[in-house]
C-alpha cells in the first residue's frame, strides 16, 4: 500500500494544501484565508483529495502549520511554519541555508542546516509595515492590482524614498507624491525598497549564508524580490511556487516522522480520517 502525506498551511492571508507521495507532489491547492478557518481547512483538503483522486482514509499522515494550525482538527500533528518552511525550502533547494519569508501579515528569516532543520530564526509580527500587507494597502490606495505592482515597479528608474516607518503615514506620503505627479512606477519602487529595507534589517540579525531563498506571497512580486536582493546584497532564489513551501515542508515532515517511527518500531498517533461538518454561527 502506498503512503501519502498531506500538509496544510493556514497562513494569515492564504491557506495552502499539498498532497505528496514518495515520488513527489501530486496535488496542490491555494485559497484565501477567511475567519472560518476550520471550514476552510476542510475545503482545501477536499479539493486536494479531488485533484489527487484519493479518499481521505488513504492519507497516512497529516501535518498542519501556519498561524491557524490549531484549526485543523483532522491533522495528526501541528508544527510551526519555521520548521515547515525550513524543510520545504530545502526540498526545492538542497543548498539553501537562509530563508526569508514575506507573508501577508508577518515576515521571518530562518537559518537551516543541510537537512532543512532550523538552527536559528527571527520573526517580525508586530507591524504591518514589515509585511506583505504594506504593499497591499498601498496597491489599494493607488488603485493598482496587486499582481501589477511588481511588473510596474521594474520600470522605475528613479524610485522615491519613503521616510515614514508607519503604513498609515506612508500612505499619506505617497498620496502627496501622486498629487505632485511623481510617476506610478517610482512610487511603487519606493514602497518595495522601504519594505525590503525592513526585511533585510530583520534578516541581518542572522548570519546570512548562501544560498538565500525568498518565500511567501512577497516572493511572487518581482519588484520586491529585486529590492530585497539589492538591500541584502545577496542573490536570491525563489521557489517555483513560493506560497507552497510551508505546506510541502509540513507533508515532508510527516513523512520523516513516520519513517523514524517505523525504524524504531513505534506507532504514531493519528486522528480519525473524517472531515467533520462545521456548525456555522447562527445556523
Amino acid at each position: 500500500m502506498s503512503d501519502y502525506f498531506a500538509g496544510i498551511d493556514i497562513g494569515s492571508t492564504m491557506t495552502k494544501a499539498v498532497i505528496m507521495d514518495t515520488a513527489g507532489i501530486i496535488a496542490t491547492v491555494i485559497g484565501p484565508t477567511g475567519p472560518e478557518q476550520r471550514r476552510l481547512a476542510n475545503k482545501v483538503m477536499e479539493d486536494a483529495l479531488g485533484q489527487a483522486d484519493l479518499p481521505l482514509t488513504s492519507i497516512t499522515f497529516i501535518v498542519s502549520t501556519g498561524y491557524g494550525r490549531i484549526n485543523v482538527p483532522f491533522a495528526d500533528r501541528q508544527l510551526t511554519e519555521i520548521t515547515c518552511h525550513g524543510r520545504g525550502v530545502s526540498y526545492f533547494f538542497p543548498e539553501a541555508r537562509t530563508i526569508i519569508d514575506i507573508g501577508g501579515q508577518d515576515s521571518k528569516a530562518i537559518k537551516i542546516d543541510a537537512n532543512g532543520r532550523p538552527v536559528d530564526f527571527v520573526m517580525n509580527d508586530k507591524c504591518a509595515a514589515g509585511s506583505g500587507r504594506f504593499v497591499e494597502v498601498i496597491a489599494e490606495a493607488l488603485g493598482v492590482e496587486l499582481e501589477e505592482m511588481g511588473p510596474l515597479s521594474l520600470k522605475s528608474v528613479n524610485p522615491i524614498k519613503i521616510s515614514n516607518i508607519c503604513t498609515v503615514w506612508a500612505e499619506q506620503e505617497i498620496t502627496a507624491k501622486r498629487v505632485e505627479g511623481v510617476p506610478l512606477q517610482d512610487i511603487i519602487a519606493g514602497i518595495h525598497e522601504s519594505l525590503a529595507i525592513r526585511v533585510s534589517r530583520l534578516a541581518r540579525r542572522l548570519k546570512i549564508e548562501e544560498k538565500v531563498i525568498l518565500t511567501g506571497g512577497g516572493a511572487k512580486n518581482p519588484g520586491l524580490v529585486k529590492a530585497v536582493a539589492t538591500q541584502l546584497e545577496h542573490e536570491l532564489l525563489v521557489p517555483p511556487e513560493p506560497l507552497l513551501t510551508g505546506a510541502v515542508g509540513a507533508a515532508l515532515l510527516g513523512r520523516d516522522l513516520l519513517a523514524r517511527a517505523r525504524a524504531k518500531g513505534t506507532v504514531l498517533e493519528t486522528r480519525e480520517r473524517i472531515l467533520t461538518e462545521i456548525e456555522l454561527f447562527g445556523s
Binding site: T80, T83, R117, V119
Partner: protein
C-alpha cells in the same frame, strides 16, 4: 496538574491571584508594610525595623493607562506596570516604598513615584555600580543612612541584634526556597515551573515568618509527592529579569517542555545568595547585596583579559545552574527598553553557545497581548532542539 487539595492549590493559588491580600490584612491591623521592586533592596533592615517588606508586582493583564499620564512609555514596561497599579490604588495598604539604584528606569523615576503617591515613607538606596573595596565602605555608610531613615520612620532604634535576627530569618527563607528548587532537579521535575513561580512570587508578599511557614508546608508536601506533575520534556532554563507572572512559563510548559530553573529576580536572583550570619550585620548585608547578587546592573571588571574568560566570570552562576539542573535549552527573555540586560544579549548568547546550550532570545513588552506571537517562537524553538 496540581492536585486540588495541595497546599499550592489551596493556599498559594488564592494569594497569587489576589496578590497582596495578606499584606492588606496585616496593614489593617496596624503593621507597616513597605513595598519594594527589585532584588537590590535590603529587606533585612525592613524586617529588623519591625515592618513587613512586600514585593510590588505588575499585572500583565492590566493595560497601562493612568501611569502613562505621569511616566514616559520608554521606561521598562514591567516598571511602568507597577507604577500604573500604584497610582490606581492597588497598593494603598503600603506605608512606604524603597527604591534602589538598580537601573535608570528606577532611578530616574524616583521623584515621579515619591511625589505622585502619598506614602509617608520613601527611600532611595544608592547601590554602588562597581565592586571595589571603597564601594563596600560607601555602601556600609549608605546602609547606615537607610537604617537611620527606618528608625526615624518607626520611632524605634534598630539594634545590631535585630538585624542579625532578620538576616537569619531571611536566610532561612532562602534556604527553604533553594530546597524547593531542588525538586526541579529530577527528570521530570517534581514541581512544575508554573507551580514554583507561584510559590516564590507569593513568598515575597508575606511577612518573612509566614513566608517561611508556607515554604515549610510546600516542602512537606513535595516530600510526599510520588508522581511528577509534568511529563518528561526538554528541560529549560528561564533567563530573565523580573517575571512575576506565570504566563510565559505556562506557555513553555504547555508546549511540552519543563522550566526547571531560572535566573529571574523573584526567583534565584532573590533567593539563592545568602548573607553572612557571622560578624557585623551591616557588613554582611553590604556583601550580599553588592557582591552576592548577580545582576547585569553591577559592573564587574574583566580580570580574565579575554571575552570568553570575562563571560565565564560574569555568567558563571548560569553555567552552574545549567549543569546542576541538566538543562537542554534556555529562554533568554528581555523586556524592550531594558538597558542592563539589553546590552548583554550578544554576550549572553555567545556564552550559551560556548556552553552548547541552545538559546531562544525573546524581546517582549509586559502584556498578555503578545502571548500568541511568543507561542510560535517558543514552539519553533522546541521543535528545533527536540
Amino acid at each position: 496538574m496540581t492536585d486540588k487539595n495541595s497546599i499550592i492549590a489551596s493556599k498559594v493559588e488564592p494569594l497569587y491571584r489576589d496578590y497582596g491580600a495578606r499584606a492588606r490584612e496585616i496593614a489593617a491591623q496596624g503593621r507597616k508594610v513597605i513595598g519594594y521592586v527589585c532584588s537590590f533592596v535590603p529587606l533585612e533592615l525592613i524586617t529588623a525595623a519591625g515592618c513587613v517588606p512586600f514585593r510590588i508586582r505588575g499585572d500583565v493583564a492590566e493595560p497601562i493607562t493612568k501611569g502613562d499620564t505621569l511616566l514616559e512609555t520608554i521606561v521598562c514596561p514591567f516598571y511602568r506596570s507597577t507604577f500604573d497599579l500604584a497610582v490606581k490604588g492597588k497598593y494603598d495598604f503600603l506605608t512606604g516604598v524603597v527604591i534602589p539604584h538598580a537601573c535608570d528606569s528606577m532611578t530616574r523615576s524616583f521623584s515621579v513615584w515619591s511625589y505622585s503617591l502619598n506614602y509617608p515613607y520613601f527611600h532611595f538606596v544608592n547601590i554602588p555600580s562597581v565592586v571595589d573595596d571603597s564601594s563596600f565602605v560607601f555602601f556600609n555608610a549608605e546602609l547606615d543612612a537607610y537604617k537611620t531613615s527606618l528608625e526615624e520612620f518607626t520611632g524605634q532604634k534598630i539594634s545590631d541584634a535585630a538585624i542579625a535576627k532578620a538576616i537569619k530569618l531571611h536566610n532561612d527563607n532562602r534556604r527553604k526556597a533553594k530546597a524547593i528548587y531542588a525538586y526541579r532537579q529530577s527528570d521530570p521535575p517534581m514541581i512544575s515551573g508554573v507551580e514554583l513561580t507561584k510559590v516564590m512570587t507569593v513568598g515575597t508578599s508575606l511577612p518573612i515568618e509566614e513566608s517561611n511557614a508556607l515554604f515549610d508546608e510546600v516542602l512537606a508536601e513535595l516530600q510526599q509527592r510520588t508522581a511528577a506533575p509534568v511529563k518528561k520534556g526538554p528541560r529549560i532554563l528561564f533567563d530573565a529579569a523580573c517575571v512575576d507572572n506565570i504566563e510565559l512559563i505556562e506557555l513553555i510548559e504547555a508546549s511540552g517542555a519543563n522550566v526547571v530553573v531560572d535566573t529571574i529576580c523573584n526567583g534565584t536572583r532573590d533567593y539563592f545568595p545568602l548573607a553572612d550570619e557571622q560578624g557585623d550585620p551591616i557588613d554582611a548585608l553590604s556583601r550580599r547585596y553588592l557582591d552576592g547578587i548577580n545582576c547585569p546592573k553591577t559592573y564587574r571588571t574583566n580580570t580574565a583579559g579575554t571575552f570568553e574568560g570575562d563571560c565565564a566570570s560574569r555568567f558563571g552562576d548560569i553555567a552552574a545552574l545549567a549543569k546542576d539542573y541538566k538543562v537542554d535549552g534556555a529562554v533568554l527573555y528581555i523586556y524592550k527598553y531594558c538597558d542592563p540586560f539589553g546590552f548583554e544579549v550578544p554576550a549572553r548568547k555567545a556564552f550559551y553557545d560556548a556552553l552548547k546550550v541552545p538559546v531562544l532570545y525573546l524581546e517582549d513588552m509586559y502584556s498578555t497581548g503578545t502571548i500568541g506571537q511568543l507561542s510560535t517562537r517558543v514552539q519553533a524553538f522546541l521543535e528545533m532542539i527536540g
